[in-house]
């Protein structure tokens, strides 16, 4: 393009240099106070023992959904921050410990349980906690609109006898092995605030922290409950939960000191932090769910158990754990984490990676020539589906991937309209095995996405659920039978148990999680 000579020499070298200088000045902005190094210079002189004060900053991938307040939150649950539960399992096992209930007595026929409640507990709004609140909590979970996963168990509670304000008996339709799973799950909320709570206006419980301000999609601030019934607790002044919907940014916020704890990261995401001494990768033993390959048993030839078993042999679970989970997972054909009472190494290794055997089984079932099946998956999580697809292709099972967005995936899961195969995740394997069979929809004996029905399976599930004492030999036998039934039928082909891992700064101490992955900060503190 030619330029009038009258405008010659406008861009001289001098100006170019000036321009560069201006650019540098703009960057100089970063020089005065940097978001990258913000807060990184922590005061030296670490002191021993818990320290009072400080705000715990949590960064999480997704915001809470108030409408789903009473369900198991997938990312960062505030259940055990704002609320308490009646009992809680001791770390590492399924021994119930007192929380709002100080003692409990199960009737000999297993059809009632009597609870003694703490008398010194008040809600954040000042009202004392009584037996009525337990009644409300159970009824709340029975309400289908609350979408609570343990609704089936809650529905087993058929009546209440209130002996005194702090003593209540729950009558049960039948013996229930997972009643303490329900208690671990069921948060005690102030009934007068529940309608506000599901709209996200105000959430009132008895827990260590008080709901303060919520900016949807951005942040939630909780403050210390000064009248918490555990003396001297909590140590922290406040918890600030910020939504950072991208793993990279989440890690960056940890690195820059803007948060102490990151929630929602997968094993693959946290790889960059593994070598960094400034961070703890907190692993919790109960796992955080399972990934599985679902099979629609109404689609031929998947109605043939041998074909399903062949698929199970064909999948390289170790590679999935290594590549898709960044090593943070347990390759297992059974749903149970290692802490489960029914876990055995043999069950986990029941279907080792064995393409030869898979092919043999397929040939035996008359499909040596290969198969061509659709495979649906959640469009936000394509890795596992692609790996499964590749592995299946190696034994002659060709699959076509069908991405589904979360709502569609969920809709098809519930409407039982999944195609022949799908990959997905499920929970509820970390507690009493019965909970899995009655609360996790994929395993439901009456109605499940796999359209799998088997009277024998139904019988085993009912038996495992209806035991009076979860620790009895009969219960244990029923559990083992349930595990075998699942492994044999393979309508849900479990692939791996996800390791529950949360990166946190090294100075954050004594954070726990309950069996439903709700974070417990009663004893947590920020070391100096």
């Amino acid at each position: 393009m030619s330029v009038s000579p009258a405008f010659a020499d406008t861009l001289t070298r001098r100006r170019l240099v000036q321009g560069i200088g201006a650019g540098a000045a703009l960057l100089g902005l970063a020089g005065c106070r940097s978001a990258v190094d913000q807060d990184k210079a922590a005061p030296a002189g670490a002191q021993a023992g818990p320290r009072r004060g400080g705000t715990l900053k949590v960064a999480t991938l997704a915001d809470l959904t108030p409408a789903l307040l009473f369900t198991q939150g997938p990312i960062f649950s505030i259940h055990r921050l704002v609320f308490n539960t009646l009992t809680r399992y001791a770390p590492g096992g399924l021994d119930p410990q007192p929380e709002l209930a100080t003692a409990w007595q199960i009737a000999p026929d297993g059809k009632a349980i009597t609870l003694t409640l703490r008398e010194d507990v008040t809600f954040h709004n000042g009202r004392p906690f009584t037996a009525e609140d337990v009644v409300f909590a159970v009824r709340n979970l029975q309400n289908p609109q609350r979408s609570a996963q343990l609704r089936a168990t809650a529905l087993a509670v058929t009546g209440f006898d209130i002996d005194s304000p702090h003593r209540i008996t729950l009558r049960l339709a039948h013996p229930v092995t997972n009643i303490f799973d329900l208690f671990e799950f069921m948060v005690i909320s102030a009934k007068e605030s529940v309608e506000d709570a599901v709209l996200g206006r105000n959430v009132v419980g008895t827990g260590p922290f008080v709901w303060k301000t919520w900016t949807p999609g951005t942040s939630l601030v909780l403050e210390r409950n000064p009248r918490y019934w555990v003396p001297e607790r909590p140590y922290l002044d406040a918890v600030e939960i910020r939504v950072v919907p991208q793993p990279d940014a989440l890690i960056a916020s940890l690195r820059s000191g803007q948060s102490h704890l990151a929630a929602g990261l997968g094993g693959r995401d946290i790889a960059p932090l593994r070598e960094d001494k400034a961070f703890n990768l907190r692993e919790y033993d109960q796992g955080s769910g399972n990934i599985y390959l679902g099979v629609n048993t109404s689609v031929a030839p998947l109605d043939d158990k041998r074909v399903r078993q062949a698929l199970s042999f064909a999948v390289n679970r170790d590679r999935i754990v290594k590549q898709a989970l960044g090593g943070y997972g347990l390759a297992s054909a059974a749903p149970w984490p290692k802490t489960s009472p029914v876990y055995t190494d043999a069950d986990a290794n029941r279907y080792p990676y064995d393409p030869t055997r898979a092919k043999a089984l397929l040939a035996e079932a008359g499909h040596g020539g290969g198969l061509d099946l659709p495979l649906a998956f959640l469009s936000t999580a394509p890795a596992v589906a692609q790996m499964v697809q590749f592995d299946l292709a190696q034994v002659g099972v060709k699959t076509t991937l069908e991405p589904l967005d979360p709502a569609k995936f969920q809709a098809q899961l519930i409407a039982q309209t999944m195609p022949a195969l799908w990959t997905g995740t499920h929970g509820f394997a970390s507690n009493q095995p019965a909970t899995l069979a009655v609360s996790a929809y994929p395993f439901n004996e009456a109605k499940n996405t796999s359209k799998f029905t088997d009277p024998q399976y139904t019988e085993i599930v009912q038996r495992a659920w209806n035991q009076t004492d979860a620790r009895s030999a009969a219960a244990k036998a029923a559990y083992a039978e349930l595990s075998q039934a699942l492994l044999d039928r393979q309508f849900i082909i479990d692939l791996a148990v996800l390791t529950n891992v949360q990166p946190a700064t090294a100075n954050l101490r004594d954070v726990r999680q309950n069996r439903y992955n709700a974070t417990v900060l009663d004893d947590a503190y920020l070391a100096g």
Partner: protein, 607 residues
């Protein structure tokens, strides 16, 4: 370096105010360098008005711009000098020095007043800027001076706050003159200052320039293609052709006794208002030289009837032929050229039954958010077979609307347009458009363009159409072999011929020429007008000849209709109407037309 100066007797300055010597300008183009100005010598004395005339491409405007080194980016001065006051060479001056000269010593007025003012700034801001550029006083002083300047050019000072688009073309040109004179320059270069204006406005602007020159003593360099303007306003004239000055001298002498064949030809080609109707115009054969190619010898040689061998090999320099005039010709004519009047052979119109009847036609244009414009009001006219009806009027008079209404592009609001004859309207009435560049589809070959009406109206077989196209091309004076070429290969005059061939294709009985020759240079214009006259005579066409140039209209028309603001103000036989106008508007129109004959000579002719 000495410059020979031919000063008119009344100018006595020893050193010319502005003198160009051997000025050369080259433009870069896709086809290579174009030598637009090839060694021009000019000088301008204080207080005089020098006219530069020439047809498009002669280099006159380029010369004007080069004098103040105002060439567009593609152009550059490759040689020569421009001396101001005899000592400052503007060609070698620094850009800063030039900025000091421009506006302060040399003012300029350009052709198009519509685009020459910044549309976003008020007149006041633009005047202020001009004054500020040369450090004129403070804000208050500049404001006072701005009002003074506006009033000087005949605009009320109150309009200072107006934007250019709120002024008419003539008013804008006045503003432009005020701007150019803001810092009282000694030289005013006016590049076709009135070409874009209607004749009556043109006369006013020229009068203004003349007055200001006399009052302020500014020397004026007036660039124009209009011989009449030169004859009426200038002291001296320089005729340019092919990037060179071919003749220079006092106006009276050059126009009455042209020495250069080109000057003589040009003068013959210019239609004169006093030429009776039915007179053939004299065109100059051929086309101007292509300055992208090397020019050997005299640039005019291949169009010159008097050319000798030397003319084609050796370039003649400007040499004195009399005491005061110089010409660049190896064979300058020695006597004053006669102005032979040659009648056109033409049929008498057949006044029994009109071929076209327009009665009571009105047309109003409405667009959203603007006041409605009445383009035509109750227009009546008739056209007989074999007749040429001239339609004249200034811009906005409704001429084009009338033409478009007749061919059916616009639907009249009221009134009837009747075309006698059997066929469809499109077959009976055809039109030749104004713009030779826009009116031909650039994506079609000449043959397809000419055949298009035949295709559209399903006339003839493909073979017949082809034969007809070749016949038509030949008829309008084009080589039939050009049928496979595209319009871009042709000059303006040739394109107009193609347009005429297209219009003739369906053998219409009425041909409408909407300013069909206005965009052409006089020498070419004469050729096309003659072609139209011949075609009419041969084919018995009825011609509706629309133009704003009364002289051309008179030369070709039987009758003339004068339009003003959409109404017919006067109609009558061509010679009568020009000789004895009845309507004051017609009189004003006629009075505004400058005659290419110098006043002295006119007096002599009248005697």
């Amino acid at each position: 370096m000495t410059v020979t100066i031919d000063k008119p007797a009344e100018v006595r300055a020893a050193i010319p105010l502005l003198a160009a010597h051997d000025l050369r300008v080259v433009f870069d183009s896709a086809r290579g360098p174009v030598h637009a100005v090839r060694g021009v010598d000019l000088d301008l004395a204080a207080g005089e008005m020098l006219g530069i005339v020439g047809e498009s491409g002669s280099g006159k405007s380029t010369t004007a711009l080069a004098l103040a080194r105002m060439l567009p980016p593609a152009g550059r001065i490759t040689g020569g000098s421009v001396l101001l006051d005899g000592d400052t060479d503007l060609v070698a001056a620094s850009e800063a020095a030039l900025t000091g000269v421009r506006g302060r010593r040399i003012g300029m007025v350009f052709q198009d007043p519509m685009t020459s003012l910044n549309p976003l700034l008020t007149v006041r801001r633009q005047l202020d800027e001009a004054l500020r550029a040369h450090g004129f006083g403070d804000r208050g002083a500049r404001r006072a001076r701005s009002i003074e300047l506006l009033e000087l050019v005949g605009i009320p000072g109150a309009r200072l706050r107006g934007y250019p688009h709120q002024f008419s073309g003539g008013m804008r040109q006045r503003v432009m003159i005020a701007l150019a004179l803001a810092n009282r320059p000694d030289v005013l270069i006016a590049d076709e200052p009135t070409t874009a204006l209607d004749p009556t406005v043109q006369a006013q602007i020229l009068e203004l320039l003349d007055t200001l020159r006399r009052e302020l003593g500014t020397a004026v360099l007036l660039i124009t293609h209009n011989m009449g303007v030169v004859a009426e306003r200038c002291d001296r004239v320089a005729v340019m052709y092919g990037g060179r000055v071919v003749e220079q001298g006092p106006v009276a002498e050059v126009l009455s006794a042209p020495r250069h064949p080109y000057t003589a030809g040009l003068l013959r080609a210019v239609p004169r208002l006093d030429t009776p109707a039915g007179t053939r115009l004299a065109g100059i054969p051929g086309t101007p030289p292509d300055l992208a190619l090397p020019v050997l010898g005299c640039a005019f040689a291949n169009r010159c009837t008097a050319a000798v061998d030397r003319c084609r090999t050796e370039q003649p320099d400007l040499a004195p032929v009399t005491d005061t005039a110089r010409t660049a010709c190896w064979v300058p004519s020695t006597e004053a050229s006669a102005h032979p009047l040659e009648p056109i052979v033409r049929r008498a119109p057949d006044p029994t039954s009109p071929v076209l009847e327009v009665s009571g036609v009105s047309k109003t244009f409405r667009s959203r958010g603007r006041p409605a414009v009445s383009a035509l009001t109750d227009v009546d006219l008739v056209l007989y077979p074999g007749e040429t009806l001239g339609v004249v009027g200034e811009s906005g008079s409704g001429k084009s609307t009338l033409a478009r209404a007749i061919v059916g592009i616009h639907k009249p609001d009221r009134g009837v347009i009747r075309v006698a004859g059997k066929g469809r309207l499109a077959r009976e009435v055809q039109m030749v458009f104004q713009d030779p560049y826009a009116s031909l589809n650039p994506r079609m070959t000449v043959g397809d363009i000419v055949a298009d009406p035949l295709h559209a109206q399903h006339i003839g077989t493909p073979l017949e159409r082809r034969a007809r196209v070749l016949e038509l091309l030949e008829r309008v004076g084009l080589d039939p072999a050009v049928a496979s070429r595209f319009p871009r290969d042709f000059s303006g005059g040739q394109r107009q011929r193609i347009g005429i061939a297209r219009a003739l294709a369906p053998a219409p009985s009425v041909l409408i020429c909407d300013e069909a020759v206005s965009a052409l240079d006089v020498s070419v214009q004469a050729q096309v007008v003659n072609l139209l006259a011949e075609l009419q005579a041969d084919l018995g066409l009825a011609l509706l000849f629309i133009a704003h140039d009364l002289a051309v209209v008179r030369s070709i028309s039987h009758r003339i209709v004068v339009l003003r603001e959409g109404r017919v103000v006067e109609t009558g036989p061509a010679d009568d109407l020009v000789a004895h106008p009845q309507d004051p508007y017609t009189k004003a129109l006629l009075a505004a037309v400058p005659s290419p004959v110098p006043a002295a000579m006119r007096a002599a002719e009248a005697a």
